[in-house]
Symmetry: C2
Subunit: 204 residues, 2 copies
């Protein structure tokens, strides 16, 4: 542990990001070398400063944390990526692990925990919040087929079947079949409840 850990912080909330940076600066083996307020900016800062660890907020303008993580994996394979999230829906954890994220934690952890986890991740370890992990395991995989997911996503804003069919370039009958099937798999009464359930599980 001869060198200090070089950290990139990405969070669109300036207040939070600044506070975190100030707080991590108190740890004498950590250095915040770059900050970003959006997904694309995070990528740019990462390639410019080549941090050891990137701490990404899940929800950011432009590209979200997962998209940035996926891109970083290709551009900077040596950079470890951690995701910090406010409300952690289970499905995100699974997707995060798939794109090589080494740490996944809610914002309810304490600052000293965060510093510790950064060190763990830097050393090659992994950390996943136990509660989020339990939820993810109990939630399991999405039972929906890719197409069902697509169509359900188009239904998410309350559009009519006709609109969905139009945007998906499908016949209305097909759309109804998919939505009916998806609602059945999710145990929902109608497509709108299905959207809500899929959202809660992070399957959307």
């Amino acid at each position: 542990m001869t060198d200090r850990v070089r950290v990139l912080l990405a969070d669109d909330e300036h207040l939070i990001r600044g506070a975190l940076a100030a707080l991590l600066a108190l740890e004498d083996d950590l250095t915040v070398v770059a900050e970003a307020a959006s997904g694309p900016e995070a990528l740019a800062m990462a390639t410019a400063h080549r941090p050891d660890v990137a701490v990404l907020d899940l929800q950011m303008p432009g590209l979200d944390g997962l998209e940035v993580a996926a891109e970083l994996r290709h551009r900077l394979p040596d950079c470890r990526v951690m995701i910090v999230t406010g409300h952690g829906r289970p499905g995100y954890l699974k997707r995060a692990l798939e794109v090589g994220v080494r740490g996944f934690l809610p914002k309810t952890v304490s600052a000293s925990d965060l510093a510790g986890i950064i060190r763990t991740v830097r050393a090659g370890g992994r950390y996943v919040d136990p509660e989020l992990a339990a939820e993810a395991i109990s939630a399991g995989d999405s039972p929906l087929t890719p197409r069902e997911t697509d169509v359900l996503e188009l239904a998410a804003d309350g559009s009519s079947i006709a609109e969905i069919a139009d945007r998906a370039s499908l016949s209305q009958g097909t759309v109804r079949n998919y939505l009916s099937s998806a609602a059945g798999k999710l145990g929902a009464e109608n497509r709108h409840a299905a959207v809500r359930i899929a959202r809660e599980h992070g399957w959307l």
Copy 2:
């Protein structure tokens, strides 16, 4: 300004709250006298420590920031209340001002701004984020009657008309009338789109 400003911090995200506390502690005229992670806890800490300024997150378990603000207004009329929010929907600002909140700002402000605004509010001033204010003005008041709002709220989770009627103790026909009227006023195609629109405006 002989005394230091006594501040209460309430935010359910431990990481954020701790970071903010550390950051405000750097200002030599501010003291964080209490922290809370939920609405009820915020109330309890406030009555126990009688802060000059309460900085409340909008979304908290138990009671949200607005409910805490309303309660504080009665219990501690001398305590100035500020709301800090992640994604600020317009309607909340209006409701916040109605319950006597003196400061309303998004988490995108910088830490030094926050400290400055705390001082402003403490001195009896007000501060509202200009962008949120503009949105609130353009959004205007909700066109919905109280009952329409109630029923729309019950429809928010994708329930069927029958369930809504049951929970609201209304006839199904009445429920449909209210929803139809609400959808019409909001320019929505159906009640689900109406829910989305009302949510976006903070009218729900």
